[in-house]
Symmetry: C3
């Protein structure tokens, strides 16, 4: 397809009129000049920044390490397993340490700090992450079991690993959260927003989420930065664990405070419900029905339903 595209471009190059080509330099100049204006966000003259593309590549590689044998077309067996991991993991950590180095160095320069240690910090952060990776894999196994237990339509573990958006988002979140905890800038958010883009599930890397977490369907789920979620919690599509509305002038001063709710162990929250506020605690084993709007705490072992808005039934005149 690419070569076709190229040929087409050549064609058009030959065909485009003199007038058209004579106009281009003016457009280029305007774009170069306007780059110096205050109102242009550019990244010119600075060290290269982390690459969104490289970070998405890292995520693909991570899936091959976390779920060995699932996301490749070669056969992996006991004999070649060491080589397989050796190569995958080495490449993964080289790219990861490079990207962290770029992110860290970029921050140093933006904030005009000395930067002799950026590469060292990048490498250390990559290794620290690496040492957690088999633990993340174990935690994900518990998430997979939670999906199998929670969804009557789940035909097999394979189906969950290959196709469940909830598991995809949780896998990316668990890695991004580890990096977030290590203080790595920029990269965790690029990771979770990529997962958001693929799944419609928006989990901030700062959220703290326990074991055996299951999100069904998932489109529209939002889990905010300071949310705390216990073990064995189940969420359905369209659930928001969010912040109360903030007056424009207070946005900055509130940014360090706990703004999002706490969900204790074994809670289930059905589709479309919204739970807001940093002091809101949903007690253990509670069940929140669909379309509930909650801004205050609920004790443990509570069922909460919205009284359905009254329905009006009329016969349709045809």
């Amino acid at each position: 397809m690419d070569t076709e595209l190229k040929e087409n471009q050549c064609d058009i190059e030959r065909q485009t009129s003199r007038k058209f080509r004579s106009e281009i330099p003016g457009v280029v100049d305007e774009l170069v000049l306007s780059c110096n204006r205050d109102d242009c966000f550019d990244h010119v003259g600075l060290e290269p920044i982390s690459s969104r593309e490289a970070i998405i590549d890292l995520l693909h590689r991570a899936f091959r390490i976390l779920y060995p044998g699932y996301f490749i077309q070669k056969r992996v067996d006991e004999v070649n397993l060491g080589y397989y991991f050796g190569q995958e993991v080495t490449e993964f950590f080289e790219i990861l340490s490079e990207q962290i180095t770029l992110a860290v160095r970029h921050d140093c320069i933006r904030y005009e700090q000395p930067c002799s240690l950026c590469q060292e910090r990048g490498e250390e952060a990559a290794i620290d992450f690496g040492k957690q990776m088999h633990l993340i894999r174990s935690q994900l196994a518990r998430d997979i079991h939670a999906a199998r237990d929670g969804d009557p339509a789940a035909a097999s573990f394979d189906e969950i690993i290959f196709s469940y958006p909830g598991l995809y988002a949780i896998t990316v979140y668990r890695m991004a959260h580890q990096l977030f905890e290590q203080g790595v800038p920029l990269i965790p958010r690029i990771m979770t927003e990529y997962a958001h883009s693929r799944t419609g599930i928006d989990i901030h890397p700062g959220a703290r989420i326990g074991d055996s977490f299951f999100i069904d369907h998932g489109t529209g789920v939002v889990v905010g930065e300071t949310t705390i979620v216990g073990d064995r919690v189940r969420l359905y599509q369209g659930v928001t664990l969010g912040a109360m509305s903030i007056p424009r002038e207070k946005v900055k001063e509130l940014s360090d405070r706990k703004r999002h709710p706490t969900i204790e162990d074994d809670v289930v929250i059905y589709a479309g419900s919204t739970i807001l506020g940093g002091d809101t605690v949903i007690g253990a084993r509670s069940v929140i029905g669909g379309n509930v709007w909650l801004t205050e705490s609920v004790p443990p072992d509570t069922l909460v339903f919205a009284k359905e808005p009254e329905l009006v039934f009329k016969e349709r005149t045809r």
Copy 2:
């Protein structure tokens, strides 16, 4: 971009410190060892499994067959049409039969059944699918007309084919449903979840959906596994056709039952409405307004609106 990436990697390889490189083997060993633990989901030592990537490639190919001339940059005309289809279709079926074979064989081995017939079953299933494909195309033509009739913003059929997420999701669903009906494991769900990822529309391949189906905007739509939808039905964004809440301990025993609603012919369901339960039937020609929550049946020719929750208006002190 790839070669750049490579060069960068080489660079970093040279630069990374001895200390960093000395830490990697430990990380690799831990990941290999932990692969033998119970809590690792791996696919090691087994036959290769279907490839998500190959199945996404299949979907792209299917679009070129179902909408001839739309998704290529070459000119297709009456003269070369036979060759065009000949090549596209042959490749499509070879890959499809291979992927079905892998999916079937994988199931055989997991469940320790004999597997001499896997390839034969893959080929038969691919051909059976192929014989349905021109019928699927006709059915999709009716879906396209439904989009044109249902959306005042639709500027042309081309716009619908190129850009409507609803049509994309329905196209993938109609293929996945055919494979689901043929008993093909794994692949149908990978297909519909890919469409879910691209469109925010989550249709289970098991759902049974009639002709002239239209979904507008679509983000957040969920259509569950045992849903039945009649002809000329229109859904808007955020509509859920789902199951009632299920106590954790009953999840498995309910998995064979009809858990999702039946929507009869000519029904319209506006944005954000939720219809739950296997016994819930929305009668023909009924109109369900926005944000309605329904867990019981509605007779034919009914208008159902939610009494809007009372609004509170206050003057804003500035």
Copy 3:
């Protein structure tokens, strides 16, 4: 991965049974024949149409021009900036003018108009677009500031540019709207629907949206074709600015009318709210709470909340 895929294909080609291969021609013939039926949407025998793939490529290129230095892995500095833009911009406009030409020519032929001027129109439209591009960049800078001001979780401008789905959707919308205003067919909608696919945010290119626009989280947002939005407006996930329900038989006659609401300056609309109708005006500085359903106008400086549906709390028997 591709070469692997190829090898696998070769393998399978050798392996597939004679019976399988003998069935393929019948399937091909049926697909070719059925292409002549009325109910097949094909694009056979016509000039090539705009390519969705090329337009997505154009969007990637546009991001490199609008946010210089952010979406490449090379270092861009003051010295090479002219060359960088020179090359990027030239290629961008050649592809853009080609795609517009194809879109225009295709419309001409479908509607059987004479078409001598298609290429000229394509080039003119591309240059007209180019002259607006530095203005679009300035406008986007104001959108970025609005994101920084509106979100306590925004760690840096870089994070917003790299990862915020709202900014992605607004960037694509601002380009698509410019092309829409110039009367370019097909391409604007392919652009915004690609952004919809990546972000869950569905903004029709026809909508008119002022400065400093911010969408937080964004999944499920719908902004209809004839919506008007003022300056400094903030939307949260799941907000619909939509049309009232339309009886099937009136869809076409309403397509030229203003069907979507007007949102004045400095309005905030919280998650899940729905505002419908072409005559509905939300007055300046008003705040619309979450889950509000509005089909009539609201004066300036108004707070609107939904009285939350009463909740039922029960102790859960275990």
